[in-house]
Symmetry: C2
Subunit: 403 residues, 2 copies
DNA sequence: TTGACATTTTACGAAAGAGAAATATATCCT
DNA sequence: AGGATATATTTCTCTTTCGTAAAATGTCAA
């Protein structure tokens, strides 16, 4: 019977999609384990087993593997308590390197960190007022190259903090109004081909929030808001320890936040709507510069503005007061919605320190409901905030290869 | 020596906390499996294996177990495609029952549903204007008893939608200003002892959001906001398919949302802060009733208000217009923060239907940023919305016992 | 110094679940 | 009708991970 067509029929029908479960799970578990070692100081196998809901023996196997792979080291634990002291696990700085890049309209920051996320090398570059997209991308590549040079530890991943709206899945920068022609830039694809490692893209304000979550004022918190105030204005929202992006990756785009204008004299009648102002037109570096200098003039550097505030300059202080007033209301509104544990001020404007934070805090409590208002603090991470967060993003997205 | 004290020393030292991982995991997986069967119409073993990242053989074991336990039934799948048709899995209505209760200042709603969440019995009761706490709790118990009677299917869990601030972990109602003396009511403890099943407590607006997520306008969405407009005002926030509660369980308490008042003539000068109104003082049923009747008078029933709106009553329409104006701004602000896919109107005020939704939509788009505004829709679940959500809460928190 | 104790880590038999192949059951195409 | 094809489910084997017990390793008290 037509044996040729049968071909022994040894080729079995295959289910359309294959199932590869365990390897992926193990890699995820080990990545999670490493993150927990990063989070806690002085973690032992048993402690990890408890928090990760795994059997101690299983954690032992994982840890042994990660130690032989060079990602973890076993610190001789000088702990003094009852019972056998735990062998403390620590990240091996030699396990590899990560790079974080962060940029906005006029500046690029890059940082390289070792496996324990200690900084190795920093780099700063500026962007011209009307620089083309390709030139900016080249500067990003150059910044990565620069902080990467002169270290033989393996590069594991790169994180990029991008201004404007992005698609984190595809790693594409979708739009940003302060850079001309900045649309659909396939950063992930381009950089991962250039450097041969995984590249993760995120909005720059959200990377700043990540930096605060891991190294700054947000350590140990589950829900907080990080306000990024630079050229533009945005909020990085951390919910349950995770970045919140919204339905359309536009969550936290509070630059468009409508504030009712203060000069709407009795315009509450039906039909005639009161005018309103966008929050970004009140509270951004752009606005301050517009107020200070004649248009087209050379921009006042940030340091000059900070000095002016310290010296009591009327224009600058008036600006800060207006910002504090508008923002005080907005923060209360955000509080009603999110009920965050804390609000963190970051970005260049946060450089004003108490000149900004104190009036903000006054307005925050003045408008607050009976249930109170969250604490408001200034970031202490400095200008590389976003780059540090971008590196942290790379650290947290990266997974060790399965055995 | 002293052999008596040794007691053979056969009692080995035990690790302080025992590790019971697998049984718990299996119960969680099976609960998750049931939820996925609830979510999707016509689910097969393979489909579940794919979406749950499990091997088909594993899912087979789980499903077999759930079938023998009486929670699932295997529908003969009349599907017409290529390949062997899947055996469709369906929830077994006989698997048990859940009860949801929901109340606010003046009303109690209760509903019993079968295992497939089809309604079995409803009950409505009213609460007097100054009823004591104990009496209200008794009415809750009575409502549960009433919808529970006359059915021999096993009662599996009870969900309770509570107004005001609650502690979902401990199942305690913390505070609610519209019921006198409503503070620290241990609802979970009391009801679970009374009825002998697990009891889950949640804010009533959030249970309304849950109802929308599972049965209403929020089906299939990951991020949306459900506005509950009844005696008070609140927002149920769904993030990534989960209830979001905030740091302090106060997320979505938008009754306190500060709206800048419309009559602040040029009060933008430093020092003199403009007055502002709480959103709840503009847009709640209380406010409308205050506007309509003289205080102390008998309250206008909701039906009369709805009829008045349909007949073009000036006071009611003016109220709705003011609500729409204030809320249009607030919704845009919420949109900037959350970037939800949709906004759902629920609660008694949603009964105004297009009389409320249309002006709201107009204001929403009028104030919207260039990136647009989310869709706004009215709930279609009716007055038992919150109770349905409370039952859904019970369904989703409940876990089958491990084998 | 010695032994009780508490806790962490390791060892190992047992169970759960993955993975691949076999089987079942449909359609479609000669 | 009969086989090729496609997909779902089941079977079976083998890996992974659990869970218990044992070993290790420190402190504390007599």
């Amino acid at each position: 019977m037509a044996a040729a067509t049968k071909t022994i029929s040894a080729r079995p029908a295959r289910t359309a999609r294959r199932f590869k479960i365990k390897r992926d799970t193990v890699a995820l578990q080990q990545a999670d384990l490493l993150l927990r070692v990063r989070a806690g100081d002085g973690t032992s196998r048993v402690e990890l087993a408890r928090t990760m809901n795994l059997a101690p023996s299983t954690v032992g196997i994982y840890v042994d593997h990660l130690v032989t792979e060079g990602f973890l080291t076993e610190g001789k634990g000088p702990t003094r308590e009852l019972g056998r002291p735990p062998t403390l696990l620590a990240l091996n700085p030699q396990g590899g390197r990560f790079i974080g890049v962060d940029f906005e309209a006029r500046n690029i920051m890059a940082i390289a960190v070792d496996f324990s996320q200690r900084p190795l090398k920093r780099f700063h570059d500026t962007i011209g007022a009307a620089e083309p997209v390709e030139s900016i991308v080249r500067k990003i590549e150059h910044a990565i190259q620069t902080v990467s040079a002169g270290d033989d530890r393996q590069l594991l991943a790169i994180g990029v903090g991008v201004p404007g709206v992005i698609d984190p899945e595809k790693g594409v920068a979708l739009s940003y109004k302060h850079i001309k022609g900045w649309e659909n830039v396939p950063l992930m694809h381009r950089l991962s081909h250039r450097f041969g490692v995984p590249v993760f893209v995120e909005n720059t304000v959200r990377t700043m929030a990540l930096a605060e979550l891991w190294f700054g004022q947000g350590r140990g918190l589950r829900n907080f808001i990080c306000l990024g105030m630079r050229s533009g204005l945005g909020a990085g929202i951390i919910i349950d320890g995770q970045i919140y992006r919204g339905a359309d990756n536009r969550a936290g785009e509070i630059g468009d936040w409508p504030c009712e204008a203060t000069n709407n004299h009795g315009a509450s009648k039906r039909g005639s709507r009161p005018a309103f102002t966008r929050l970004e037109d009140i509270a951004s570096l752009h606005t301050l510069r517009d107020r200070l200098g004649a248009p087209g003039q050379a921009e006042a550097p940030l340091e000059a503005l900070l000095r002016a505030a310290a010296e009591g300059d009327k224009v600058v202080l008036g600006f800060l007061d207006r910002v504090a007033h508008a923002f005080g209301l907005v923060l209360n509104q955000l509080n009603c919605a999110f009920n965050p544990e804390k609000i963190i001020l970051a970005g260049a404007l946060a450089g004003f320190g108490e000149h900004l934070r104190l009036p903000l805090e006054r307005n925050l409590t003045a408008f607050a409901p009976p249930s109170g208002a969250p604490a408001i603090v200034s970031s202490e991470l400095g200008a590389f905030n976003g780059a540090i967060g971008a590196a942290a993003l790379a650290v947290h997205q990266w997974k060790p290869v399965p055995p």
